[in-house]
């Protein structure tokens, strides 16, 4: 049985124009390249230490 209160919590507000800029700047989803860069950075840091 569907619980209305639980289900309604899953709905997220729609994006308005005023929030679009923030959404673009905060969209820092990491991809494989970012992960590899981080790993390399950490490796380099360890080697330098």
């Amino acid at each position: 049985m569907i619980n209305f209160d639980e289900e309604i919590r899953k709905f997220k507000p729609s994006l308005e124009i005023a929030q679009a800029e923030d959404a673009i700047y905060k969209n820092d989803v990491k991809d494989i390249t970012d992960v590899l860069e981080e790993m390399l950075q950490q490796l380099n840091d360890r080697q330098s230490q």
Partner: protein, 438 residues
């Protein structure tokens, strides 16, 4: 070989000479990203938008600079009514790959070229957020009103339909919830939330497949109204065979292309028949009643007029008969009066003829006496009165003598001449002849 990340040459050990990244890993990641993009594209092509979004998000996790994946993701969001969300994806895409070679630039220009549409999209988001707030706060009536208004203007807004369906389910109105979810399945064939809600309402997977197939008849660009369900049901009724109706399970079968053209004539015929029936059953009786009422009113008016005229005619006839009677009475009276007059005249004449004329003789005697007494004026008057009563020789004689006595010889002579002419054998002729000869 160039590095996929920074474009620097790749060393023999397989790592970039600049960034040091493993070319093999990057190539695999980019390849996986492309795979998921292709998967997303396939799903989007068959309107499995939710599945496409999942695939494209995965593609972007492997390579966030996958321009095609990002552009397609933006397009899918736009199709689902999330214009601003789509716009953000296109902006990020154009940021990674500036220039007209990126189709995201075209999409952005298209959206920005119509400020009204952009503002409407913003209002849509605001109104949905308000409806969501109302639903969370328990003011569901307001949420219903807001959502219906949104969906009548934005028939592609999937999230709105899902919230509306949830509200209908909570409200104990599964039919309307199904109707909203049918719209969702028309836009997004495998929307997981819609399928979940349908299952919760007791629909089997076969029923859901049948619902998906029947949802293809919905005009996805038409505004959402309560009549859609009825239209769809009528179409389903006419498109199913009788056997199918008797066996509901067979109505949800394997996928089969429906040739809608062959039913066009049937639709038109049914429409015509329904139109004629509605005219015959609804409009015609009203018209007839109206016409009958008008006729009755007219008849009553004419009856009143006729009765008034009849009254007038009877009045006039009675007046005529009265006048005729009066005229006859008057005529009779006149006739009677004339008869009486005639009788009186005749009687008067008889009386006059029979009564002895003593007044004349008396007057003549009185005139003679007045002459003797030398009262000539009196004698003249007496004689004149006597002559008015009756002409006679004595009256003329005494009149002449009275004038002579009164020294009026001319009149005296005239009276004697009259006596001589009228009564030539009178005893007074001899006497007056002497006078006249003088």
């Amino acid at each position: 070989m160039e590095c996929l990340n920074c474009g620097a040459p790749v060393l023999e050990n397989g790592h970039c000479s600049n960034c040091g990244m493993s070319h093999r890993l990057l190539a695999k990641a980019y390849n996986t990203s492309s795979y998921y993009y292709n998967l997303g594209l396939d799903r989007a092509s068959v309107r499995d938008l939710t599945g496409a979004i999942d695939a494209l998000n995965l593609a972007l996790k492997y390579n966030k600079q996958n321009i095609n994946a990002r552009n397609l993701l933006g397009l899918i969001y736009y199709e689902m009514g999330e214009t601003i969300l789509g716009l953000t994806q296109w902006v990020m895409s154009s940021n990674y790959l500036p220039g007209d070679g990126n189709i995201a630039q075209y999409y952005i220009r298209q959206v920005q070229s119509d400020p009204v549409e952009l503002e409407e999209a913003n209002q849509l988001a605001k109104q949905f957020n308000q409806a969501l707030m109302h639903a969370r706060q328990g003011t569901k009536d307001l949420a219903f009103i807001q959502l219906k208004r949104i969906l009548s203007g934005y028939p592609h807004f999937v999230k709105g339909y899902l919230l509306l369906a949830l509200l209908y389910m909570d409200n104990g109105n599964p039919d309307k919830a199904k109707k909203a979810l049918k719209r969702v399945l028309r836009i997004d064939k495998n929307n997981t939330l819609a399928v979940k809600y349908l299952k919760e309402m007791g629909m089997t997977p076969r029923d859901i497949i049948g619902l998906k197939e029947s949802s293809t008849r919905i005009d996805v660009d038409s505004a959402y109204t309560d009549e859609d369900q009825l239209k769809s049901d009528i179409k389903t009724f006419f498109e199913n065979d009788i056997d199918d109706v008797e066996d509901p399970d067979s109505s949800v079968g394997s996928y089969e292309e429906i040739n809608h053209n062959k039913f066009n004539l049937l639709y038109v015929s049914v429409g015509l028949i329904l139109g004629i029936l509605s005219f015959w059953l609804l409009i015609l009786p009203t018209k007839l009643n109206s016409a009958n009422k008008e006729n009755r009113d007219l008849q009553l008016t004419y009856s009143d007029e006729i009765s008034q005229k009849n009254v007038t005619i009877s009045d006039l006839e009675s007046q005529l008969s009265t006048l005729q009677k009066q005229a006859a009475d008057k005529e009779a009276e006149e006739k009677e009066a004339a008869d009486q007059k005639q009788d009186s005249k005749e009687a008067f004449q008889v009386i006059k003829d029979n009564i002895p004329n003593t007044a004349y003789e008396t007057l003549c005697t009185e005139a003679q006496k007045a002459i003797t007494e030398e009262d000539f004026e009196k004698a003249i008057n007496m004689c004149n009165v006597a002559l008015q009563l009756q002409e006679g020789e004595d009256a003329y004689y005494y009149l002449g003598k009275a004038y002579l006595g009164n020294q009026d010889e001319e009149k005296a002579k005239a009276a004697f001449v009259k006596l001589k002419d009228s009564y030539p054998e009178s005893s007074h002729i001899e006497e007056i002849s002497d006078y006249l000869s003088e």
